[in-house]
Amino acid sequence: MITDVTIPEPQAPLPGAGVNSSQGLLQWISSVDHKQIGILYLLMSLFYLLVGGALALLMRVQLMAPENQFLGPEAYNQLFTMHGTTMIFFVLTPAILGFSVYLTPLMIGANEMAFPRLNAFSFWIAFFGGLLLYFSFLAGGAPNAGWFNYAPLNQMQYSSQPGIDYYCIGLLLAGIGTVGTGANLIVTIISLRSHGFKYRYLPIFVWMVFINGFLILAAFPSLNAALVMLLIDRQLDGHFFNTASGGSALLWQHLFWLFGHPEVYIVVLPPFGIISEVIQVYSRKPIFGYPFVVGSGFAIALLAFGVWVHHMFATGMGNTMNSFFAASSMLIGIPTGVKIFNWLGTMWGGSIRFTTAMLFATSFLVEFTIGGLSGISFAIVPIDWQLTDTYYVVAHLHYVFLGGSLFGLLSGLFYWFPKMTGRMLNEKLGRWFFWLFVIGFNLTFFMQHILGVIGMPRRVYTFPNLPGFGLLNLISSLGAFLMGVSMLVFLYLLYEALRRGKRASDNPWDGYTFEWLTTSPPQLKNFDTLPPVFSFRPLHDLNHPEIGDHKKSTDDKYGT
């Protein structure tokens, strides 16, 4: 008989473990426990989601009618800049880090991250980065040059208020935190897997977090370099991006997109992992084509660094350059398609339970396919020449960031909420939230594809009363309000579950991975002992020994 693996005690007591858990807020602030930090990340993300969403609603009010006077140009330009910056750096990034930090040690059978204090530091520095960014509203005006902040519009002579300086410092701090967490996750996965936990047994989610760590380490330095160079321009009168005195406008774009495009994959790879876990468990079947799902993650990560110029096809760089980046950008479609069809393959022949988490995962497949396909149209250079910088881009990126990333994250939230809090969410309200959100989302953003096609540029605070513009924008705004309403349902849903939700059992969904083995919510120390690992579904092997993967030969574990 095989015996359980004992999880070794940490060499030194976990720092912060001495603070009594009844000390409330102080305990959260001083915590270095990966679960508490994960939850802090998620709370930060939720807070900024509401703030960034409110900014978006104000923008949609302004765009409800042609030549509307609700907001002036300056206010609108600050709002859309803050909306984009907030959603990417302070909603999606902390949300994926939150899930990564919470789940990775649990899934690999560890009791902590490799560097618990670095983990806490990384969270708090990102948190204060966000506060600093928002402080700009009080300091004389928020940044107003868009989330990608093109030169030379980001220079002092075009934006003399301090907003862009706060943008630089806020993003630098958040970026340092993100790099810290990314490296921490890699070290954790390499060195803290429980005994016998081979790489080929890692859950897909952990694989995606692992790949993501390298993406973060390689992408963020470009942004940090661009930000310090911009700060030197603005504060010390440097000349990197100041075209009036020999600087280059395109250097900023190269550095920014060398970070910016991988960033898209940074916020979408972990949701891919979440979707993989959710679809497996609710289809009651192992993932279809494990090596292909993992391998396509690697392919996406590698290609991610060779595609940035597709954001710059309209800058007149010449057809040779354009064709190279067109090829690499189109190629990314292949591994992405492989993932979509493997998820469909996972559902095929299963016994599917359509919980709220599964509904989000299912609709993810459709919404993300739309976002992915509209993305391919930017790789086809001549189509990009027509549609880049229009509302078609706005539609595309929201299908990727919401339809892809956020749907994945919500799916994960509904899936792991019982584990994190020990309470079940109300499925009926969950369905209400799901349908309101999905309908609102598609109303808002599908229309924007058409707006781009009929000639509406992005980032305009108002638009002339041309045929079609008024009606489509009105529909888009109504959709946005519907999403706003759905967020109220969502907040009530969370509140109700925390106040009087049903107690969750340790493994309410018959999950496959180690986090479902411990209590709900887990104790400060996650595990004392663990069963040995023989497949990528160790808990399924334990709970269904008669059909467990551990009986299969190595080849059969990964498909025929």
């Binding site: 070290v187 160079m229 321009d233």
Partner: protein, 186 residues
């Protein structure tokens, strides 16, 4: 073990950061051509001497690691102190050079060459400074007896960082001080 792995990842990430700054410098300094006046202000021999000292600090650190592995705490302390000393001298040299440039009106806002120069060498100097803090902490801990046992990986982790900073300087020195003369001669 974990700290060494961590340091390798951090150094990898930092390398990309410096690569971006170097590309910025090359783009702005090499293509418009060098201003001979700015270039003449850079003292090749003096900075060359300080470069040799910084490289020597890599050697002393390497000796320190060996002493640690062999459990020779006395010589560990000596080599560490020498490394810190050499690093401080290098920073002092950089400070003198900056002072010389500022006195001669070569400031960040003087043109794209100056902006690139101060950014690149300034960030390198910042990294030397951070390295010195780490080394000072290690030296302090050595005196407290933390490294009496040879198992600790902290010293080799700091070593990875310190050698990295030296390698970056070799490239910066080549790009900023040596190659421009070669390019200008043609």
């Amino acid at each position: 073990m974990e700290s060494k792995l961590m340091m390798k990842l951090v150094v990898g990430s930092e390398a990309i950061f410096f690569l971006a700054l170097m590309m910025g410098f090359v783009y702005f300094a090499y293509f418009p051509g060098f201003d001979p006046k700015s270039l003449a202000l850079l003292d090749l021999t003096k900075t060359g001497a300080f470069t040799v000292l910084l490289l020597a600090s890599s050697f002393t650190f390497w000796r320190a690691e060996i002493s640690h592995r062999n459990g020779q705490i006395g010589s560990l302390k000596g080599w560490l102190a020498a490394t810190v000393g050499l690093g401080v001298i290098f920073l002092f040299g950089q400070g003198m050079e900056y002072n010389h440039l500022l006195v001669n009106q070569l400031v960040v806002s003087k043109g794209t060459f100056a902006t690139g120069f101060f950014t690149l060498t300034g960030f390198h100097g910042l990294h030397v400074f951070i390295g010195l803090i780490m080394l000072a902490v290690v030296l302090y801990l050595t005196f407290l007896g933390d490294f009496d046992r040879p198992q600790s990986s902290v010293i080799s982790a700091v070593g990875i960082y310190w050698h990295f900073v030296d390698i970056v300087w070799v490239i910066v020195f080549t790009l900023v001080y040596i190659l421009p003369h070669v390019v200008n001669m043609k």
